[in-house]
Structure formats: structure tokens, C-alpha cells
Amino acid sequence: METEVKEKIVSIEKPHLEAPADWQPVIMGILCNWCSYAGSDLTGTSRLQYPPNIRIIRVPCSSRVDPWFIIKSLQASADGVLISGCHPGDCHYISGNYYARRRFLVTKKLLNFVGFHENRVQFSWVSAAEGPKFAKVVSKVTEDIKKLGPLHLYKKENI
């Protein structure tokens, strides 16, 4: 008989109350060139303001994002990661964002399994026309990461 194992993965991250008062998180944003990067440009041209914590890396397609990039970001410099691509069905490369979505779900499960809080890495669909949405997404991710505090788990210097 098939047994379903339902376990709630609990973050083993400890609240870091010792975060300095002027601490600001670093968020690594990896955006696809055709939709989300163009959308983030539109946020700029529309002069919509968002928190300055995100550092943006341009890739051709969200399917270019290797889970390695996410893990390396968390390990090296970032307190959180945002991956963003074209809406399903709108991929410039026909189907890349579907691969990205699947790969991301697996990566996220793995990260949760090893103890990261699920909000540390987030995924969004932002089209080239969605400047306001990009500002909203960045604000939300920044807010989420701020609540979680600085990331110490698995940081290079702590191993």
C-alpha cells in the first residue's frame, strides 16, 4: 500500500536578534533578459522606487539559472535570492521558463530540507511590461528577508 509521508519541513535557521541596527540584507536577483530584466528597466524608466538591497544579474533565460548560482549566492554574499523569468507561455525561447520552474521547485525543496527558510529564495514571473510589478516583488522579497535577518547558515566563514 502506498503510504504518504507528510512532514512539515521546519527551518533550522535561528532568529538572529543580534543583527546590527543598520544591517541591510543583500539580495541577489537573477533575471532573464527578455522579460524580467526588461521589466526592471521599465521600473527604472517609470521612476518607481524600491529598496536598494537587490543586486541584479542578467541571464538570457531563466532556464540558464543553475541551482549552483542560488547556492553560491547564499553561501558567498546574499541573504536571499530572487529568480525571475517570463510568464508561462511567454518565454522568448519557447519553453525555457517551464524548465526553470521545475528546476527551481526541486532546488527550493532541497534548500528547505537542509534548513533554509522558504522565503530565502523566491521566484516570480515579471513581464517586460510589468514595471510596477517588479517594484512590488522586490519590495516584498526585501521585506521577507529583513524579517528573517542576516543569513549565517552554511556561510563560508562559518564552516
Binding site: 541591510q24 543583500v26 541577489m28 533578459n33 530584466y37 526588461a38 526592471s40 528597466d41 521600473t43 527604472g44 524608466t45 521612476r47 518607481l48 522606487q49 524600491y50 536598494p52 543586486r55 541584479i56 544579474i57 542578467r58 541571464v59 538570457p60 533565460c61 532556464s63 540558464r64 539559472v65 543553475d66 549552483w68 548560482f69 553560491k72 549566492s73 558567498a76 554574499s77 546574499a78 522568448h92 525561447y93 519557447i94 519553453s95 525555457g96 524548465y99 528546476r103 517594484a135
Partner: protein
């Protein structure tokens, strides 16, 4: 040792007002690899680019970082500056400190300055891993394939052929001409459709640069822009076109009668037939589904009467292969089947017909000799109700979009009805009148004034029979009342629907289609005739509903695109594509599966140096690869990398801050 030059732009006040540019420059100078850093008011200006060119030479720089606006804006500009200074253009990185910093953090200069410095650090780190890349030169086969022989395909083929580029025109039916050949007169000038179309059809047949393949279908398309290979099935016509003179003796004697598709089934054609008198080529084909000789082996009358001996019952389908460089898809449209409108009694009442049936009836060469007749009793109708938007703009029963041409052709039908039956009266139920186009609004006015047609704004809710008449009950929204009109004939302006085989064709060609089945253009505004696949273009209603002028304009546009593509002997391609390190490749072929362009094939190489045993590895087709990087992320052995976005470059960016 890397020697990076950093050039920070003020962008007038756009960056300088919100980012402390001199501080950013000082910060950049602290990076170990940065040997030169400077700011300037407008980096993209000629003096700004001059600064970059001079510094490359003076400081022996190995890569360049420009901190300015988005790379989507000026990456090309700055790459050219590098080229001009004799440096490989792909050694440039752009740090986007305007769209991603100064414009979005206008209230926090300190944070914006810090972020800008970080973005420069990332770009510097990435640029250190940049490699020299060279645009890929791909040879071009200067021959175009046009799929579909309607007015779009005809126009595209003629325009391309006139530029002395060979064209292969494939049409699935026995004759070119498409839907336009079925029309009587065309709005807004009431030109006779046949009179303006048939000369073009003849031009196609006689053009030295056009190879016309009627009664044929595209089976396969392989390759990439400039270098496609197409397989075409030439369906067996059972008639030798080389010897047939088109005299017509065969179809006059043929005993089998079949509903005539060209006349919308109003009359019959024979099993051996030419679709209409002006058909090009004007040679008959045998309809294998209905011919008794082919089905039962009995009859053979057509072969007996054919003086030339052109009939060949043993003829087989033929596969034709051609090498081509570009494709124009012009498969046209179908008409939506109004069956879901049960309340209209579609299929129950004979005197409800579609617009194209009406069109065939009023055509002088049509089945009724140019007079509309009631299908039930063959009487001339005096009161005709036209219903617009049957299927169009109706999410519940049909489709959401507007079919665009119905308002105009219904106005035309009102005029044609008035011309053919002087004492008739047209009632037109409409939702809106959409008459945007040169001379269109005037034409609708003309229809209203000249024919006295009654335009009723509202939807029809029910049609029922009362004696010989049909009672059309609808709403007149302008008076807010239910109205009933006694009609002899009801004409439904059914929606323009995508050609039914579009999804299959799209898969075969490797292009995309929308939720309805219309083929998708690369960009709805700026690239309306290209598809996302290089070298494949769209003309006419295969993309969206269009009228004839628009279709012809788009067809000519595709011809311009094809001519542009063929203007040189080679095409230059962006070098940012995947490459395989065969030393690492395990031959798992995961990359082959994920590649959306079928750009990855396998090849067999010696197992070791000088070894006779072989192993299978992935191979990228440079001409096809578009550089998405799906294969890079899926590769377990890290054997594939994407030039311009290598793992090293991205990891450098990540660890630099």
C-alpha cells in the same frame, strides 16, 4: 593579468543627481584589476566613446566596464567603440546604474551610491572572465519557400521573385487564389475580385523565378535560417500536367457528382475537376475519395475521352525536396462553424446561410449566376437579414476577438444585394460598426444611404420559422425594444478562424501559435512579420484577421525581409551560443531533450586519442542555437557552457560582492 577600465557616466543629471559619481569612481579604483577609472557627462556621446577608445590604447586595457544606462539601451554602441579601438567588442560589460540604481533609489543617495559601486564590482568581475567572441558567419541558400497560395502567398512570391530570388510556392488545393478567388467584389471600391486577382495568379504561373507546386503539402522542415531543407508532398493528381491542355472533356463526361467546395457546396462538381474556371494551373485533378475508378476499378470514362492520354490512375504521391533559406507562411484562415448558435436554428433552417455562401451566390460566376436564391425553394429573397459578430466577440459561444472584416463585407453585401435585387431590403443586426481604414467609413455610409439598409444595433436572440418566412427576433438597443423582422434569407457573418492545420504546421516549422491557433509574430508591434524563429515570416490571416490591403502590405513586408536576409552571401549571427567541451561530455543527451530549437545533435568521436572505439557526445549546431542556456543548466557533467554568460562569468559576479 587583467587590466580593466571603468567608465562611469553621469547621464547628465539622470545618474549624477542621485549617485555620487566621483565616489563611485574612487571605489572602482580600489578594485585590484581596475587600472583606469574615469567619469564623464555623457559616455554614449562621441567624446565619451573617444575617451574609451583612447584609454584602451593608452592603458593597454583587457576588458571594459561602462557604468551607465541599461545594456539593452547602449550595449551595441559601446561594443562598437571597442571595435573601433581594435578590441574585441565582447570584452565589454555594462553596469546598469541608471535603470537599476539612480532612477529607482532617488530618495537615498548613499544607498544608490553603494549599490552602483557593487554593480560595477560585479561587472568588473564578470568582464575578467569575458572571452573574445566572433560573430558566426552562416552561408545562405537564396531560395524562399512560400506556404499558401492565397493573395498573401501570391503577393509574397511575386515580390520575392521580382527581386530575382527563386521561390517555391506550395498550395494544398489544386489551384492558387485562396479565399480571395471566391469573393465577388471587394470593399471599399467594389473592384471585381477576380479581375484584380487572376492576372496576379497568371503572373505566378508564368514567372521564371517561381516554382509553383499546387496540390502539395509541406511535410518536414529541417535546418536553420539560411539553410533549411524542406520536404514537400506532391499529392497524386492522376493527371499528367505536362500533357494536359485543360480542355475540360474529362470533367464534362465524369458521372460522379460531389458538393463543390469552391461554391460552398451550393452546387456540385465532378470527381475529376478544376476548382473554378480561372484556376491556375488550369488542369484538373481527380478526387481520389470519390472517383469510382480509383475506389472500385470501374468507369475510366475520363481516360477514354482524354485525347492527350493525360489520365494516369496509377500515379503516386511524390516527395519533393528543396533547399531554401527562408519561409513565408501564408496559410490564411477558415470560417468559424456557427453550429453552437442553436437559437438561430443553424442547420435546421435551410434559409440561414453564411456570408461566404452569399458571396458565392452574388458572384457573376457563382452557382446561381449572380442572383441570391433561397436554398429552400430557389426564390429570390426580398427581405434579407444580416447578422454580424456570429462567433466573433462572443466568449460564451465563439471567440473573444473581433474578426475585423465583417463590418465591411456586410456593408458590401447590402450594396451587392441592392444591385442584384432592386426591390429588396437589408436589415443588419450589429454590435458596433468598426470601419477604420482608408475609405471604409465612407463606404459604410454609402451602404446606408444608397441601399436604405436598416441598421439595428443589438443581438439576435432567436430565429424561428413562420410559414415560408424566417422570423428574426432581436433587440434594438437604440430604442430599447425587442424587434421582429420577417426574413426570406438570413446571412450570418461568421468569425474569421485560424486555419485548422496551423497548430500542426507550427509544430512542423518550430514556431509558436496563440490560444486560438493563429501563428505568433516575434513582437506584436515592432516585429509583426517575423516569427521567433529566424528566417520564418508570416503574411496575412495566418497571424490574425486582416482585410486584403493589410494582407498584401504584410506579404510585401515579408518579401522585403526575405530580400534583406538574402542580400549577402552569408548571415552574421550573435556568437553568444552554447559550446560543448567533448572531454567532459558523457553523452547522456539531456541537453538534446531540453533544447527548444533542436539545435543539439549527437556525434561520434574516438573514445581516446587514436582509439578505434567510439563514444557519443553532444554537438551544437551553431546556426540553430539561439543562446538560451537551457542545456547549460541541465548538463550534469558541466560540459556545456554559454558564451557570454559562462558559469565562470556568473559565479564571478555572485562572489564579487
Amino acid at each position: 593579468m587583467a587590466r580593466v577600465g571603468v567608465f562611469v557616466c553621469f547621464c547628465g543629471a539622470n545618474i549624477a543627481d542621485f549617485v555620487d559619481v566621483p565616489a563611485v569612481v574612487e571605489e572602482a579604483k580600489k578594485i585590484k584589476e581596475v587600472k583606469y577609472a574615469i567619469d564623464y557627462k555623457y559616455m554614449c556621446s562621441d567624446p565619451g566613446q573617444g575617451m574609451i577608445r583612447d584609454a584602451i590604447v593608452a592603458h593597454r586595457l583587457t576588458s571594459i566596464v561602462v557604468a551607465a544606462c541599461s545594456p539593452r539601451m547602449h550595449e551595441k554602441t559601446f561594443r562598437k567603440a571597442l571595435s573601433d579601438a581594435g578590441m574585441n567588442p565582447y570584452l565589454l560589460e555594462v553596469a546598469n546604474i541608471r535603470e537599476h540604481s539612480s532612477w529607482v533609489h532617488q530618495k537615498d543617495k548613499k544607498a544608490a551610491t553603494e549599490k552602483s559601486s557593487d554593480l560595477i564590482r560585479m561587472a568588473v568581475a564578470k568582464s575578467i572572465a569575458n572571452e573574445q567572441l566572433h560573430e558566426i558567419s552562416v552561408p545562405v541558400t537564396k531560395r524562399a519557400l512560400v506556404i499558401g497560395g492565397g493573395i498573401a502567398g501570391i503577393q509574397a512570391a511575386l515580390d520575392i521573385a521580382d527581386a530575382r530570388i527563386p521561390v517555391v510556392l506550395v498550395e494544398k488545393s489544386p489551384s492558387i487564389g485562396g479565399k480571395m478567388a471566391q469573393l465577388d467584389e471587394t470593399f471599399p471600391t467594389l473592384d471585381c475580385s477576380q479581375c484584380i486577382l487572376t492576372p496576379k495568379m497568371v503572373d505566378v504561373a508564368s514567372h521564371p523565378y517561381i516554382e509553383l507546386l499546387p496540390y502539395s503539402e509541406v511535410l518536414e522542415l529541417d535546418g536553420y535560417v539560411g539553410n533549411y531543407k524542406v520536404k514537400i508532398k506532391r499529392k497524386a493528381s492522376y493527371v499528367n500536367f505536362d500533357t494536359c491542355t485543360g480542355c475540360g472533356a474529362c470533367w464534362q463526361k465524369c458521372p460522379v457528382k460531389v458538393p463543390n467546395e469552391f461554391n460552398m457546396g451550393i452546387d456540385k462538381r465532378k470527381a475529376i475537376y478544376s476548382p473554378f474556371p480561372q484556376a491556375v494551373p488550369n488542369k484538373p485533378v481527380i478526387d481520389a475519395e470519390h472517383c469510382t475508378m480509383l475506389l472500385k476499378g470501374k468507369c475510366g470514362i475520363c481516360a477514354k475521352v482524354c485525347e492527350k492520354g493525360s489520365i494516369d490512375y496509377a500515379m503516386q504521391d511524390e516527395i519533393i525536396e528543396r533547399e531554401i533559406g527562408a519561409v513565408v507562411v501564408a496559410t490564411g484562415y477558415d470560417l468559424w462553424d456557427p453550429k453552437p448558435y442553436e437559437e438561430y436554428g443553424v442547420g435546421r433552417y435551410k434559409d440561414i446561410i453564411t456570408s461566404l455562401e452569399f458571396e458565392r451566390m452574388v458572384s457573376a460566376s457563382g452557382p446561381t449566376g449572380g442572383v441570391p436564391l433561397r436554398p429552400s425553394d430557389g426564390k429570390i429573397p426580398k427581405s434579407v437579414v444580416f447578422i454580424k459578430c456570429v462567433g466573433s466577440r462572443d466568449e460564451a459561444k465563439g471567440i473573444e476577438y473581433c474578426s475585423k472584416i465583417c463590418c465591411m463585407y456586410t456593408a458590401k453585401h447590402a450594396i451587392l444585394l441592392h444591385h442584384k435585387v432592386h426591390d429588396s431590403h437589408a436589415y443588419i443586426f450589429y454590435m458596433d460598426i468598426r470601419a477604420a481604414g482608408k475609405g471604409y467609413e465612407e463606404f459604410v455610409k454609402r451602404a446606408q444611404v444608397e441601399t436604405g439598409a436598416t441598421y439595428l444595433r443589438g443581438r439576435v436572440s432567436k430565429i424561428y420559422q413562420k410559414g415560408e418566412k424566417l422570423m428574426v427576433r432581436g433587440e434594438d438597443a437604440q430604442i430599447g425594444q425587442v424587434v421582429e423582422v420577417e426574413a426570406d434569407l438570413v446571412v450570418l457573418a461568421t468569425a474569421v478562424y485560424p486555419y485548422k492545420d496551423n497548430p500542426e504546421l507550427a509544430r512542423l516549422l518550430g514556431i509558436s501559435y496563440d490560444k486560438y491557433g493563429f501563428l505568433s509574430e516575434a513582437h506584436p508591434k515592432l516585429r509583426p512579420v517575423e516569427t521567433a524563429k529566424a528566417g520564418i515570416f508570416l503574411a496575412g490571416c495566418t497571424q490574425a484577421p486582416k482585410d486584403i490591403p493589410e494582407t498584401v502590405a504584410q506579404a510585401s513586408a515579408t518579401a522585403a525581409k526575405v530580400c534583406g536576409l538574402f542580400s549577402g552571401d552569408t548571415i552574421l549571427k550573435d556568437p553568444m551560443i552554447s559550446k560543448v567541451n567533448t572531454d567532459y561530455c558523457s553523452g547522456c543527451q539531456n541537453c538534446v531533450t531540453v533544447c527548444p530549437y533542436q539545435a543539439i545533435v549527437t556525434e561520434e568521436i574516438p573514445l581516446g586519442h587514436g582509439s578505434k572505439e567510439i563514444r557519443t557526445v553532444a554537438k551544437i549546431n551553431e546556426g540553430v542555437c539561439q543562446g538560451c542556456g537551457s542545456c547549460v543548466a541541465i548538463c550534469r557533467s558541466m560540459a556545456i557552457d554559454l558564451a557570454g554568460f559562462t558559469d565562470m562569468q556568473i559565479i564571478n559576479e555572485i562572489v564579487s560582492i
